[in-house]
Amino acid sequence: MIPFREGSLLWGGSSFVELLHRVRPENASLPSVVPSGGGERSSSVFSGSPASVPVWHGTTVLALTIRSGVVMAADRQASEGYQVADRAIQKIFPVDRSSAVAIAGAAGPAIEMARLFRVEIEHYEKLEGVALSLLGKANKLGQMVRDHLPLALQGLLVVPLYAGYDSRTGAGRIFKYDAAGGRYEEETFHSNGSGGLFARNVLKMLYHPEMDETEGVSTALRALYEAADDDLATGGADFVRGIFPLVHVIDRDGVREVPVTDVSRVLEEIGDRLKRRVTP
C-alpha cells in the first residue's frame, strides 16, 4: 500500500535522503543515528580503529574544464592496505544528463553515496517536474558529505569530486569537497585521492583553458599515468587484462564515456612519447 496522508512514511518533501531516513531510520549514512564516538549502536565498523577494519579504498580521480565542458577521469584500482582488492572498479558515476560524480576514499560508503546522490537528484526532478540547477546539486552533495562526517571521523573518509555542464552559464564547472562538507568551486582542474597530488602537478603543468576535447582527454590520461607511476594505490593501464582508466566527457550533449579503444590508443601514444624521452 502507498500511504500518503500527512504523518505517514511516504509523505513529505522532495528529498529522497529524508524519505529514506523516515523509512529506514537505522541508515548509517545519516548523522543523527550514527554515534560519534562508538556508543551503544557501535558495530565493529564504528568502534574499531580505522586500521583494524579492512576497508577498500579508491584512489585517483580528476576533473578538468575544457572549452566545451569538462573531462573527468579515474583509475580503476581498489586497494586494501598494500594489496589490490579489485582491478576494475568504477569510480565515476553519471548523476543525470549533465553531471557526474567521481569518488575517492573508502569504496563502500563512497559508492553508496554516489548511488544515493543520483537517486536524490532524480527524485527531486521527478517530484518537482524540473531539474535542480548545477549549483543546487553541488550544494546537496555537500550536505551529504557533511552527513557522512561521523563515519569519516572513524576512518571511512569519502571525498567526492563533482563536475557538470551548467546550461545556464554554458560552461563546465567543477566542485571539490572537504570531509566536513565544505563545497569549493574550482575553475580549472582538481584531483583527489592518494595519487591526487601527482595528478594535480601534471595538470598544473599542462592545463590551459582553451583545450578541446581531444587534448582534454589526453591531458587527463597523462595525469593519471603519472599518478599511477608514483602512487602505489593508483592503478595504471592494464594492457594484459584490457583494463583502462575511465574517462567521461560532459558537455551540452550530455555525459558520455570515452570508448576503451580511444583510451588505450591515447595511452599508447603517451607511452611512446615517454619511451623516446627516457631511452638514450
Binding site: R24, L127, G129
Partner: protein
C-alpha cells in the same frame, strides 16, 4: 439516545461511486497508446505547468484525471514508492505491476473506508523489453484494476474517445500516426475546435536506455502533428 439514519451499504457505496464518477467525467480525457516507438501518452490539458502525465520510474509512466490535488498526491506517492524500491533492491526490480497493485490497494481502501472517495482515475504504463510485453493498467476510483492493451482512455467523455480510437488504432501505428489519431479524437469531442497548444504529450521511448520517459515540448507536438514528413 438518537438513532442514526440507516443507509444500506449498497446505497452508500452506490452514492459514493456516483459522486466519484461525476467528478472524473467533468475533466478532460487522457489516452495511452502502444506505438512502434514505445508507449505514447496524450492528455487534453490547457495548462503547461500542471502536468497530467509524468514519469514514475525508468520504464513506468503515470497519467491521472480527476481532482488535481488527489492524483498529484498519488503520483508523488508512486515516485517515492518506486525510488525507495529501486534504491533498496535494484532498478530493474521496480515494475509497473507492483505499482499498479499498490495503487489499487490504496484507492480501494480510500473508497471503502473514507467518507469521500477519491475522484481520480489513473493509467500506469510500463514499457516492455525484448522478453516482456508492454503493460498498461487502468485503475479506477474504487481500486478496481484493468489490464489494457493497445489503447486505454480515462477521464472526460472517455467512452466516446475510446470507441473512436479502438476503431482506428491498429498494432504497429507510429508515434506520428498515433498522436494525430488522438488529436482527431479530441477534435471529435470538442465542437468548438481543439488548439494544438492544449495537447500534453510524452513517450516511453523504446530506443532509450535508463530513463525512457520523454516529455514533448509544445513545439515538438506541433511538428509531429504537421503534415510534412
Amino acid at each position: 439516545m438518537t438513532m442514526p439514519f440507516y443507509v444500506s451499504p449498497e446505497q452508500f457505496l452506490q452514492d459514493k461511486a456516483e459522486y466519484a464518477k461525476k467528478g472524473i467525467s467533468r475533466g478532460r480525457s487522457i489516452a495511452v497508446l502502444e506505438v512502434i516507438e514505445g508507449i505514447l501518452l496524450v492528455a487534453d490539458n490547457s495548462s503547461h505547468a500542471l502536468h497530467k502525465i509524468s514519469e514514475i520510474y525508468d520504464r513506468v509512466a503515470f497519467a491521472g484525471v480527476g481532482k488535481y490535488s488527489e492524483f498529484e498526491n498519488l503520483r508523488k506517492a508512486g515516485i517515492r514508492y518506486a525510488d525507495l524500491k529501486g534504491f533498496m533492491y535494484s532498478r530493474e526490480d521496480v515494475t509497473g505491476r507492483s505499482l499498479a497493485n499498490a495503487y489499487s490497494e490504496l484507492l480501494g481502501n480510500a473508497f471503502s473506508q473514507e467518507m469521500k472517495p477519491m475522484e481520480v482515475e489513473i493509467l500506469l504504463a510500463d514499457l516492455g523489453t525484448e522478453d516482456r510485453p508492454n503493460e498498461i493498467y487502468r485503475i479506477s476510483f474504487d481500486g478496481s484494476i484493468f489490464d489494457e492493451s493497445l489503447v486505454s482512455v480515462v477521464g472526460g467523455r472517455s467512452d466516446q474517445l475510446k470507441t473512436f480510437l479502438k476503431d482506428r488504432v491498429r498494432p504497429g501505428v507510429t508515434l506520428k500516426e498515433g498522436l494525430s489519431l488522438v488529436r482527431s479524437g479530441f477534435l471529435e469531442q470538442n465542437e468548438n475546435g481543439h488548439p494544438v497548444m492544449n495537447i500534453e504529450a510524452a513517450i516511453l521511448e523504446r530506443s532509450a536506455t535508463g530513463r525512457c520517459f520523454r516529455r514533448f515540448s509544445p513545439e515538438e507536438v506541433g511538428r509531429l502533428l504537421s503534415n510534412d514528413p
